[in-house]
């Protein structure tokens, strides 16, 4: 249904065509999310679905909003918009409040179900290890101040049993690839920093990890762990 809150009368397009466009966007989002294992989808890709056949200027925005509604009403998914953030070294000296710079927007699907309901009925236990891994890694980076050199990150992971050189870990397979997936999913981003000794690769929290709900949960979790076993964890961070 073309969003009840969207006003499509300004466009010279039939309701059927609008519905079809909305359905295409919804389907694209669902299938692409499955195919790339939850990596954010660029807004540009969704816009293209509309501009491929229609040239009205404000139409893509309306269609995407209607698709957002549809995903929420029919599936209970939120089409969450993320603003792609750039590595801190690239933004030095520039105000982050600049609106003149068009930062790339991307979307991820997030379930709107209450957490207990999701955990009880929806969660796929076969992929629980990936969520755990994600959480641990971004917690480490967060505790390091939001940014951590590559070798330090691997040192921490090694203490938990995952080596950088592991190519066939029983749970995670290729360890390097597992970390790279987090970069593709935009939980982390890589940043090369020029230092006196040459280039160092840093991992930094990216938009998905900085996003409200995720960030909140992460802080809750960390504070829980710290209260439970603070001495061990704090030492880990030094």
């Amino acid at each position: 249904m073309a969003g009840a809150t969207q006003d499509f009368s300004q466009f010279d397009i039939s309701k059927e065509e609008i519905d079809k466009l909305v359905a295409e966007v919804v389907r694209y989002v669902l299938f692409k999310t499955h195919q790339n294992s939850g990596c954010p989808i660029k807004r540009e890709e969704l816009v293209q679905l509309v501009t491929k056949n229609y040239s009205q200027r404000a139409l893509p925005a309306h269609v995407i909003n209607a698709a957002k509604e549809k995903l929420s009403n029919a599936f209970g998914y939120e089409l969450r918009e993320l603003l792609r953030c750039r590595p801190s070294s690239a933004t030095q000296g520039r105000s982050t409040q600049q609106t003149g710079v068009a930062e790339a927007k991307s979307y991820v699907l997030i379930s709107q179900l209450p957490a207990e309901v999701y955990k009880k009925y929806v969660e796929d236990e076969n992929s629980a290890h990936l969520s755990g891994f994600t959480f641990v890694v971004i917690s480490i980076v967060h505790l390091a101040g939001g940014k951590i050199p590559e070798d330090i990150l691997w040192r921490h992971l090694k203490r938990m049993g995952l080596c950088e050189t592991d190519a066939s870990h029983p749970v995670f397979g290729n360890a390097k690839q597992a970390l790279e997936t987090l970069v593709q999913q935009r939980y982390l981003q890589k940043d090369k920093v020029n230092g006196p000794e040459g280039n160092t690769l840093f991992y930094e929290l990216a938009e998905r990890a900085l996003d409200g709900p995720v960030s909140e949960k992460m802080k809750e979790y960390i504070s829980e762990v710290l209260f439970r076993d603070d001495s061990h964890f704090v030492i880990l961070m030094l």
Partner: protein
């Protein structure tokens, strides 16, 4: 359009995240969410599914159930109804793996006697190049060169088979063969139509594993469990719905089924059952039945009936 609440969403998301679910698991989720069991509240359950499908249909999706053809149990899943550009994205498999899958699917579906499965060796020997040459109109025609298909090694095939079974596109049958998985039964109706797989006269789903009509000119197929349902309701003979021929090769099986039921119920002995059936038959078929019944007693075990090709003669099929 009725709006859905979080309970509907939970049902849909569970199927989308976890994949197809067996009926009892799906019912358990429903019970957990609503506090009512689908068995006792059929109307409510159906209403939920109906409302969900009203929303999903605008996006060409559907929440449907199908019967696993190998075990006969019902499974639920959210399926895609239209093969368009977007849905082509929805797979993590490579082009070679998809070609391999198509080859297996065709081999299983085109089995003349509808066994519904092929052996592991047959699966591993499927040649991907045949898919490139096929005229099914798939995107494989413009895909990678045949070399990439030829280089799809045995170990890659084995690994891929495991993945397919894991993802429920294929399944391992009890006798160690490869059959179609729940996802294929739910999702690939259109494909079966393209392959000209006959659909069951009773339930209108593709019959990949089932019984064939005795009449060689008749293409009717019926699932085992559908026949069982039909037999349990009628004590007379079953006629092929299309050609009218008596469904003869079912007779011994039905008797064995009935015998089993009786053994469980401890009601009547086997000989007593046969006269009862004879009485309900018309006179002209009486003799045939006598022959059929008689020879079925001393006939070879049931499985052999299915393996014999249609052209071979059997004692039970004397006219």
């Amino acid at each position: 359009m009725p709006s859905l609440n979080w309970k509907h969403h939970a049902l849909v998301q569970a199927l989308m995240t976890r994949g197809p679910l067996k009926e009892k698991d799906f019912h358990a989720i429903f019970s957990g969410l609503t506090g009512k069991s689908p068995g006792a509240h059929q109307g409510l359950f159906n209403e939920y599914l109906l409302n969900i499908n009203k929303e999903l249909s605008s996006c060409q999706f559907e929440l449907r159930a199908c019967r696993d053809q190998y075990v006969g149990q019902v499974c639920y899943g959210v399926v895609n109804n239209v093969a368009d550009e977007q849905s082509k994205l929805g797979t993590k498999y490579t082009v070679q793996q998809i070609a391999f899958f198509k080859g297996i699917l065709e081999a299983i579906a085109q089995d003349v006697i509808a066994q519904g499965s092929i052996s592991n060796i047959e699966a591993l020997n499927i040649r991907l190049e045949n898919q490139v040459l096929s005229t099914q109109g798939s995107q494989l025609l413009n895909g990678p060169l045949p070399a990439a298909f030829r280089n799809f090694t045995m170990s890659q095939k084995e690994k891929t088979l495991d993945e397919f079974v894991q993802d429920q596109w294929l399944c391992c049958t009890p006798d160690g063969k490869i059959g179609l998985g729940v996802r294929s039964c739910l999702d690939l109706r259109g494909w079966f139509r393209n392959l000209d797989v006959p659909f069951c006269e009773v339930c209108n789903e593709a019959v990949v594993k089932g019984e064939l009509c005795q009449n060689e000119g008749c293409a009717v197929r019926i699932h085992h469990y559908c026949l069982k349902n039909k037999f349990s309701r009628r004590s007379g003979e079953i006629l092929c719905p299309r050609c009218g021929l008596k469904w003869q090769n079912q007779l011994p099986k039905a008797e064995i089924l009935d015998e089993e039921e009786e053994a469980n119920d401890a009601i009547q002995s086997q000989p007593a059952q046969r006269p009862k059936r004879k009485r309900t038959k018309t006179n002209e078929t009486h003799e045939k039945d006598a022959v059929g019944c008689g020879s079925s007693q001393s006939s070879v075990p049931n499985s052999d009936f299915r393996r014999i090709t249609r052209s071979s003669s059997r004692p039970a099929s004397q006219r």
